[in-house]
Amino acid sequence: MDSQLVKLNPDQIRFIEDDVRKAGIGFSHLETDLIDHICCYVEELMDIGNSFEDAYKKVKKEIGYNNLKYIEIKTILLITKKFETMKTFMKITGISGISLFLISLIFKMNHLAGANVLFLLGVICIAFAYIPSLLITVKKEKLIKRNIHVFYSAAVTVFLFLITYIFTVMHWPYKSYMILLIWISTFVFILLLFFSAIKIQENRIINLSAVLILTIIVALNIFSYSITDRNSQNEIRVLEYNLKESNEYFSHKTEELKHQFKTKIDDSVNPDNYKDLVNRTEAILNQLESFNNKLFPDERKLHNYNKSILKPYIKKGSIQDEAINLEVSVRAYQESILDFTNKYNITTLDQYIRRSVIFSQIDFNQNSVVVYNNIQRLQRDIRILESEILGEILRKSDS
């Protein structure tokens, strides 16, 4: 509908624009709407014979330029009426999330129970309540006018970080895919940040340097991540190899000693008793072995372990029951060995038994790979003990 004959010239339009801009309307495209509306109205009045000055004076009087700001306020009020609840929700969840993080930090520093639970609650609060309501608020209110995609990609990256934390704590599968997603979204975020930094004219060098520094930090992180992972993987392998070697050596030695027993001291030592020692040792070693198998049912997983396995070992479910059984058995074994050495007067080994055959050496506060290796170490110590005892008895019978 553009039936008017008179058209305002650019100077007249600029005159109106300057006037309207004085009202300082910043909401969305409302100012553009109002300028065009006033121009149309002025044109219509000019169409019926008014001069620009007269027409504009009449329009100004009718509209009342003091009302322009009021229209903006009215618009915002109409829009935000229902939206206030969402914004309040956003504020509450944001503050609660941060408070939970801080409280969990205080708990952690004071070694109080529940720090991890509080942290997890904070993560859930931020990821599922704060971030979604923040995104809706930003989108609806058009809070960010330039480079909104940078903001979105940052929000997605933070969200993925938090979700991956939940995956880790809950021991859910596919965590490695989540980590991959984090890298991808971080990469996208940096890329978008880079392009938006190029676009902005002012402080371009500072902006680009900031992006560069961020890229270097991320790259270093990826680099050190793979390096430390590989290093500790190698360390664990060497340790495991050594333990296996010594375990084999000592079980071989025990076999030899058992053979000597058969040929040499049938008369001096009650055969049932030495068999009892061997059987008990075999039983406890098997129990330790089966525990380790449960810890890592798939041996490949141990060799190619990633950080997900290197997380604090959680005593729960069937593994916890197994651990309790193991503790009882190791204690019982230690007692029976001490009885045995007392019976045969070889108490010189008592100190060693008390020091080496200790359940707490497994240290369940460590991650599961360390627990695995500590169990192997315990197996080795038990093997050494067994051969030491058998050797001692043989020495006694010789002298």
Partner: protein
């Protein structure tokens, strides 16, 4: 001239109806169209119109297109698919309201007044 207070609740539906009938419209065009259609009985001030248009845009019922016309930027408003549905609903609500009002106004209460 129709009283402002009477119109207040129906303005959104009227604007939606107009947008439904046209492919796209700009603010001034809407006010003019309403004046034309109603023989100047309904005068929609821009103080009432733009908050409604912005609210419709915010709710996703309309989208805007900006164009340079006669040396200035003009914002056109256009119904979205969601807006089409809202318009249908609002128009039928308004019709029902008018019919109900007619029933009340035309009713023969069965007793003489006065």
């Amino acid at each position: 001239m129709i009283e402002k207070q009477l119109l207040k609740g129906s303005l959104k539906s009227i604007v939606l109806k107009l947008l439904k009938e046209h492919d796209r419209m700009y603010g001034y065009e809407i006010t003019q169209k309403i004046e034309d259609l109603t023989n100047n009985k309904i005068k929609l001030t821009f103080g009432a119109l733009y908050p409604i248009l912005h609210k419709l845009e915010y709710d996703g019922d309309v989208i805007t297109e900006s164009e340079i016309v006669n040396n200035r930027t003009r914002v056109y408003y256009k119904l979205t698919t969601k807006g089409e549905k809202t318009a249908k609903l609002k128009i039928s609500e308004l019709k029902e309201f008018i019919e109900t009002l007619t029933v009340i106004i035309n009713a023969d209460y069965g007793f003489a007044i006065g």
